[in-house]
């Protein structure tokens, strides 16, 4: 096996890690307005991924850097071809990342609602666009002899690629719903479980359709048989996940959806091989593992580095998930940061909902707290304690 083939596998591994890990935190972001019925519930959901989302996103940064190092021609052609979609993805990831850190630092309900919207859109757009991008990679794009993209932006929005976008979207939503059921308690957990079943069924249908289309259109690939097997395995794992979540086995269901996303990613890369970015103008213009790769010297250096450090990454990231393994309930959520400390006179803050429109006022603190009461077991004492503390600050 050539080193370039090993690096094709490693790049596929990095994307797999990215989709499996950030897949569920995109799902949480997308489900935020559906599953989180009030501010405390939304905070529960956000805090299930709070400690880990940044580490999850680093898989993308590493995949990008590793592609630059091991397949510079692939990196250059792919990133310049997908210029506008990548701009949208990056802008989405920027506002989404800030939403985690900044959401709790404002004083008004409007502030938090805006960051909730940023979190939702910042999760939704990349969840769709990564699938669109991979659909186009598999389908091939209009690369000329110099490997420059000569198609237009709208060429990228073809039906096959859009189905790819719907595939990643439904997969990530189902994966996120299962994760929410696994990491929460009470009402959110019940609703997440129900939602996981429904979105899981949708994911099965869409994924099966997309993979069938993929296998039929790339049947000439070197490893078509392996890819078909992986595709079938992915759909089976999804079906198992739906059954498991229905039976209340959330841990198994999460393992199933994780394996399914890994298998879908593996099926896509296997179907792609030995191409890395096919040209629809002339197959001679296609980028492949051999004509896009770095020199053996560079690949050798990178191989040593990756084989030493990637296991460490897996180890300490795994430890992080162990440290934060506990389920989170509405009772676990401390009062909003801004109400715990007197950065402004308390009275000024209390007035703010009244100044707003009636609709805005209803989304603010006191009604949210009332709703938290039916948030499930353990929620009520927390709500009581919070209101007591608020009275003290007033």
């Amino acid at each position: 096996m050539h080193l370039s083939d090993l690096w094709f596998i490693l790049i596929a591994t990095l994307w797999t890690g990215y989709f499996v890990l950030e897949g569920f935190d995109f799902g949480i972001g997308i489900l935020l307005p559906v599953l989180g019925r009030n501010d405390v519930e939304r905070r529960v959901l956000i805090n299930t991924i709070g400690p880990v989302w940044d580490g999850n996103e680093t898989w993308l940064v590493t995949a990008g850097g590793a592609t630059f190092a091991s397949f510079p021609a692939w990196y250059a052609s792919m990133f310049s071809a997908f210029y506008l979609p990548l701009l949208v993805i990056v802008a989405a990831l920027i506002v989404r990342g800030l939403a985690f850190e900044y959401r709790g630092k404002g004083d008004t309900a409007r502030w938090r609602r805006r960051w909730d919207a940023a979190l939702f859109l910042g999760s939704l757009l990349p969840a769709i666009l990564w699938g669109v991008a991979f659909g186009n990679i598999l389908r091939g794009i209009r690369l000329d002899a110099a490997h420059n993209y000569v198609g237009s932006f709208f060429d990228l929005l073809n039906p096959y690629a859009l189905l790819g976008g719907l595939t990643t979207l439904t997969l990530f939503v189902a994966h996120g719903a299962v994760f929410a059921a696994l990491k929460t308690t009470g009402g959110i957990r019940v609703r997440a479980r129900r939602l996981a079943g429904r979105t899981g069924v949708a994911a099965i249908a869409v994924t099966a359709g997309f993979l069938a289309w993929t296998e039929s259109s790339r049947s000439g690939g070197t490893a078509a048989a392996a890819s078909i097997a992986l595709a079938a395995f992915a759909v089976a794992a999804l079906a198992s996940g739906v059954v498991a979540v229905h039976a209340g086995r959330e841990g198994i269901a999460f393992a199933d959806t994780a394996v399914a996303i890994a298998a879908v990613t593996a099926a896509m890369f296997t179907a792609l091989y030995p191409d890395v970015l096919p040209s629809t103008i002339n197959s001679a213009y296609s980028l492949t593992t051999s004509n896009a790769s770095s020199t053996p010297q560079t690949l050798a250096v990178m191989t040593v580095v990756a084989l030493i450090f990637l296991p460490f990454v897996l180890l300490y990231q795994g430890w992080t998930y162990w440290v934060f393994r506990k389920r989170i309930s509405t009772a676990d959520i401390p009062p909003a940061e801004s109400s715990g400390r007197n950065s402004r006179p308390a009275g000024e803050r209390e007035r703010s909902p009244v100044r707003g429109s009636p609709a805005r006022a209803s989304a603010a603190w006191p009604p949210a707290e009332r709703a938290a009461g039916d948030g499930g077991k353990g929620a009520a004492p927390g709500a009581v304690r919070r209101s007591r503390r608020r009275n003290q600050t007033t």
């Binding site: 709070g50 510079p72 802008a91 770095s294």
Partner: protein, 481 residues
């Protein structure tokens, strides 16, 4: 058009990203130091300082992290010809940076933020140290990549593939340019992080009379509550730690900057000539502190000069000959063919001076501030209050001028002597780049305003209160978003 838009976009997004990077690196170590002091002494003051500066640190880290994604992507998006040419060498440090440094930072920052009630204190303290070390590692690898653009080593040009290919990765990592740029950037980062810590602490110490209420201010703090006294003591410690960090870092930045100037004169003599707008080779060469001249810098009307200083900066010898722009232009035309090899002189001339001047001003303010807030003293100067507000800002300006100088001074090359910037740009449409330039500039501006407001709000709030004690099973998380 395409080239200009891509360059403006790279410049704007990179300068913006680099506001947050040095704060992250410098403050990371200072916050880690505060937490270590708490773990070792158990003294409440250090815990409060850790939490207070930790909040400021995180507001800054968040925006640094997210704007970093674009930094990596835009090489392929906007500079794909460059990426194809250099990927065999330039990609490796970027990938290693992500694998070694970014994973460490991103994972352990999550443990630090949320781990207060899940980890033993010393393990929790270790996580912030790991974040800080991750920042230093990332600086090393990205500077190895940048230094290779300034002074390419450890490669050969392959005429068949039309690209630069790796000969020795060790040579790339031990590039003399990297070895001096790295400590220079670290020094600047500590100057920046120390500036934030000291500036905020000194501001709290100086404004205290007003905050303590009208009656107490007249009595000079005689009627202080124990909590206020504790807060003053804590901020005095922070001012001392931050201020001394600034002073040491400023000296280190000066020494490493001087070394860097000599290395630069060896490998990029045009950049040194452009830093002084020195058109004619001189022996010895003087350094002008200030010049009024024509816009292209070719004729001067008035200047203040320090004799022989440029000779010393360039070659550690007050009598050394320094090559002028005209001579180097002629030399490069002979080697590389006809064309302009001269950067935009007013930009290089002023950015070089302002980098030094603004950095020195920050150190001066730190020195005065340290003296003013020493034990037993309560300064009331309004001027000083405004000056210490500049302490977190000035290093950012100096950093930006430093990068503008080093990148603009390399022009017209993107890789010195190997590839011109004009040849590195992507073949895409100018319209798309204009769109991204507008989107990113507006987005960055809005987020910058939000970020600064949050920093000010957190900084004004002062040290946190004692966390309320919770008993039993249902206590909430120590921290939640």
């Amino acid at each position: 058009m395409l080239l200009d838009l891509s360059r403006w976009q790279f410049g704007i997004t990179t300068v913006y990203h680099f506001f947050f990077v040095p704060i992250t690196i410098g403050m990371g170590f200072l916050v880690a130091g505060f937490e270590t002091a708490w773990v070792r002494t158990g003294h409440d003051r250090w815990l409060k300082l850790t939490k207070f500066y930790g909040k400021l640190f995180l507001v800054n880290v968040a925006i640094g992290v997210v704007t970093g994604i674009w930094q990596e992507f835009q090489f392929g998006m906007n500079w794909s010809a460059y990426s194809r040419f250099v990927g065999d060498i330039f990609g490796a440090p970027l990938a290693i940076e992500a694998l070694l440094a970014f994973f460490l930072e991103a994972t352990f920052i999550g443990l630090w933020i949320f781990g207060w009630d899940r980890l033993k204190p010393w393990i929790h303290c270790a996580t912030i140290w790991i974040v800080a070390v991750g920042g230093v590692l990332s600086a090393y690898f990205i500077l190895a990549a940048n230094s290779w653009m300034q002074h390419p080593v450890g490669f050969h040009y392959n005429p068949v593939t039309h690209r630069a290919e790796l000969s020795s990765f060790l040579a790339v990592l031990t590039n003399p340019m990297t070895l001096v740029t790295f400590p220079h950037v670290l020094a600047a980062s500590f100057l920046t992080g120390g500036g934030v810590v000291a500036g905020v602490a000194m501001w709290h110490l100086i404004r205290r009379p007003a905050a303590a209420g009208a009656g107490a201010s007249a009595a000079g703090g005689a009627a202080e509550s124990p909590a206020q006294a504790e807060s003053v003591a804590a901020f005095r410690s922070a001012a001392k730690v931050g201020g001394i960090t600034v002073l040491i870092a400023a000296v280190a930045a000066g020494i490493t900057g001087d070394t860097l100037a000599k290395i630069m004169t060896t490998y990029q003599p045009m950049k040194m000539a452009a830093a002084e707008a020195l058109y004619h080779t001189s022996q010895p060469a003087s350094f002008s502190v200030f010049t009024i001249g024509t816009l292209n810098g070719s004729q001067e009307v008035f200047s203040i000069r320090i004799p022989r200083l440029l000779s010393f900066l360039a070659a550690a010898n007050f009598n050394a000959k320094v090559d002028g722009i005209d001579n180097l232009q002629a030399l490069y035309s002979r080697i590389y063919g006809p064309g302009s090899y001269t950067p935009i002189i007013p930009v290089t001339y002023w950015s070089f001076r302002l980098m030094i001047a603004v950095g020195m001003l920050a150190a001066l303010i730190a020195l005065v501030g340290l003296w003013a807030v020493r034990r037993g003293h309560q300064p009331r100067s309004r001027l000083l209050l405004w000056a210490v507000l500049l302490l977190p800002v000035l290093p950012l300006i100096a950093n930006s001028f430093g990068w503008i100088f080093t990148e603009m001074g390399r022009q017209p090359w993107i890789v010195f002597g190997q590839m011109k910037t004009a040849a590195g740009v992507s073949a895409g449409s100018a319209g798309a780049v204009l769109a991204s330039l507008i989107v990113l500039t507006v987005l960055y501006a809005v987020l910058g305003v939000i970020m600064v407001r949050l920093m000010v709000k957190e900084a004004r709030a002062g040290l946190p209160d004692e966390p309320p004690a919770h008993e039993g099973e249902d206590k909430p998380l120590a921290f939640a978003y």
